[in-house]
Amino acid sequence: MTPTVERPVDDALIRRIADGDMEALRTLYDSVRGSVYGFALSIVKNAHDADDVLQETVLKVYANAGNYRPQGKPLGWIFTIARNLAMDKVRHNGRTVPTDERSLAVDLHTVADADDRILLRELLATLTDEERQILILHTVNGIKHREIAAVLGLPLGTVLSKYHRAVKRLKDTVKEETDYDEP
């Protein structure tokens, strides 16, 4: 598996993509693929559609990079695109916008680390959709709580409080499973 990239996504990267720089597009993809996929998965509820949304998001970013107005918030822009595409996918499949389903059945065998599998299983099974989405967006290097709030259409305070509740619940659940406590 290609390792995730620590370099944050910024306006300069989007400008390079607008100029047709494929390496920049690959950098963007590597930076956000997991979180866009996970975010989409929490909306569309199946792996196949989540993969479609990931592809369409990257393609849409490539196609519209020239229209992007540099405001220092490229990640908010990207995830808003992903969210709209995921919502469209749900509507296209004839479903209403999905109500909360705590459990997401996903095949986790591709996750290399056993403890990561437990973590992901609990993330997908234990949290509400919103908590899951907030937590997944929070993993994106460089995204701010304010951008998360804007993407999800939630008040900032709500994002903050839900994030902390979700983290606490996830940590407690994982701790029970793995029976250790990292510092």
Partner: protein, 544 residues
């Protein structure tokens, strides 16, 4: 596990879920170069044997003449009129195949938006996308803009389909331009009066209908003056006058209206819980107390969900609509009982006995219970705290009762903290070789948690927390910097410690009647790291 490590692990795990060939599929779909994405200009060339082609064409025209006439009439028949009002005001007439028959601007800004656009005979979604791209590029649509979309058509199903189509199309264009604006819809099946008003003022029928709807609800509004207002300003006036926009339009939302309302209540509910020292029923839980089953409640449309106070009792005010009736409930947010209508009863704070439940039955079988006062946020949450000295006393008394020698307490400190939605005091002290940390609820004084740590173990985290300035200090720093004196009413103070950051800070947010303030304050030194003042939307002046 630190939050940072948690983030990294989740990110790694999610990346492992993504199929290996996803980027290959993306790359295969991309054009080989950026030039390939430029529009291709079709060049029509003269063909040889023009005379033959012309003759054939003439025959086709003759043959198609009769059919063509019928098709022409059908094609050009107006099936719906769509008005788009931001400040530019534009009207599209479309046929039943959703093809644009005409695009008209009602004001100069609308003309500027349409300038250069060839919309006739284009598909509706293409035309709307082009209009909004033009608006975005010319700066007419930006964050927090209000967009009113009016569909005039007698077919409700078609109206609903077109609305969805428009939402999607507009939403995509706005997202491309990183704009967060609200889209509000209204459907008109009869608009003669609105048309007359619209013609008089040179505005769209949709905007006219909206204004006339407002004036019908609040007669002292001046419709002629409102005709000059942007839609966002109209919505602002409506809010100021207490007009529920649901009485005029349907909200566009990716989320259900219920979801938006419930989420907007979260902070209010959290504050109420702090003030009372008790957990309230969530809005979802309260639904059950209406007496209707889950299936019924899943089909109703909520138009109102607010938290108000009846004396000392927090009350959910709910209004929802089914196919048959409008239902109004005022439900006790603590125990789910129905609140009394019209009669005010003072609550005995010590007994907290619930009022008698009363409700009236609507002629159509629905039930109604009403009692509404707007919920006002205050700074009382801070006034209700027990104070640091009291928190210390509670903690030491607990240890004394447990048999500890409280005469030889060392390193006694107390820190105000915000933990899991509650304000608490953390009282730490050492007795003999054990360090204790008591978490005391800031309002009720209950001991929430007791932690004991042998003194040989490192207590870096506790030591670190003791170095923090505390929430009260952080809030005071923010208020002083914002030059907020006692005469200014401050509402909804929110303060949260971010310890997971490299440089721990307090995030402080509060509102005055004209602005929202946000601060980041270094948790150790009290230095202001970031400050932002955002003016609240103020209704335009001159409204009589």
């Amino acid at each position: 596990m630190t939050n940072h490590k948690l983030d990294a692990r989740i990110s790694r795990a999610l990346s492992d879920l993504v199929p290996d060939d996803t980027f290959d599929k993306i790359a295969a779909t991309l054009p080989t170069s950026r030039e390939d994405t430029q529009p291709i200009t079709v060049i029509h060339t003269r063909k040889p044997y023009r005379w033959l082609i012309a003759a054939v064409a003439a025959c086709v025209i003759l043959l198609g003449g009769v059919l063509g006439t019928l098709a022409y009439r059908d094609y050009h028949k107006v099936d719906a009129v769509i008005d788009i009002d931001v400040n530019p005001s534009i009207e599209l007439k479309i046929n039943r195949r959703d093809r644009v028959l005409s695009a008209v601007a009602f004001n100069e800004d609308g003309e500027r938006v349409l300038d250069g656009l060839k919309l006739k005979n284009t598909a509706l979604d293409t035309a709307v996308a082009a209009i909004f791209r033009s608006m975005a590029e010319k700066g007419y649509v930006e964050d927090d803009s209000g967009i009113l979309v009016t569909v005039q058509n007698n077919d409700e199903d078609k109206t609903a389909d077109r609305r969805r189509q428009l939402n999607t199309g507009i939403g995509e264009v706005l997202a491309e331009h990183n704009i967060n604006a609200s889209i509000v819809h209204q459907a008109l099946s009869a608009f003669a009066e609105a048309k007359q008003f619209a013609d008089k003022h040179g505005i769209s029928a949709g905007k006219a209908a909206f204004i006339l709807g407002m004036v019908e609800l609040v007669p002292d509004l001046n419709a002629d003056k409102l005709a000059d207002y942007r839609f966002a300003a109209l919505a602002s006036v409506a809010a100021q006058k207490g007009i529920d926009l649901h009485e005029l339009v349907d909200y566009d939302a990716d989320n259900a209206a219920w979801g938006d309302m419930a989420l907007s209540l979260e902070q209010q509910v959290a504050q109420a819980e702090q003030t009372l020292g008790t957990v309230l029923l969530t809005p979802d839980e309260v639904k059950k107390y209406t007496g209707f089953d889950e299936e019924f409640m899943s089909k109703v449309v909520f138009v109102k969900l607010e938290l108000s106070w009846e004396g000392n009792i927090p009350v959910y005010q709910m209004v929802f609509i089914s196919d048959e009736a409008v239902y109004e409930y005022a439900i006790n947010a603590i125990d789910g009982s129905w609140m009394e209508t019209e009669t005010e009863k003072e609550m005995n704070a010590s007994t907290q006995s619930p009022p008698q439940t009363m409700h009236s039955t609507l002629p159509n079988g629905g039930t109604a219970a009403t009692s509404a006062r707007p919920f006002t946020t205050t700074t009382a949450w801070m006034d209700n705290f027990i104070g640091e000295e009291r928190a210390k006393a509670i903690a030491l008394k607990e240890r004394e009762a447990a048999g500890c020698d409280t005469d030889n307490v060392r390193d006694l400190t107390v820190q105000e903290y915000y933990d899991k939605g509650n304000s608490v005091y953390k009282v730490t002290f050492t007795i003999e070789d054990v360090q204790y940390c008591h978490t005391v609820h800031a309002v009720s004084g209950k001991i929430v948690k007791i932690e004991k740590t042998p003194c040989t173990t490192t207590t870096t985290a506790t030591t670190t927390q003791n170095r923090y300035i505390g929430r009260n200090m952080a809030v005071n720093i923010a208020l002083i910097d914002a030059d907020i004196n006692d005469a200014v009413v401050v509402s909804t103070i929110y303060c949260h410690l971010h310890e997971e950051e490299k440089e721990p800070y307090y995030y402080v947010e509060f509102y005055t009647d004209v602005a929202r303030w946000e601060y980041r304050i270094n948790a150790v030194h009290g230095e202001i790291l970031r400050q932002q003042e955002t003016p609240l939307t103020v209704p335009p002046s001159g409204l009589e």
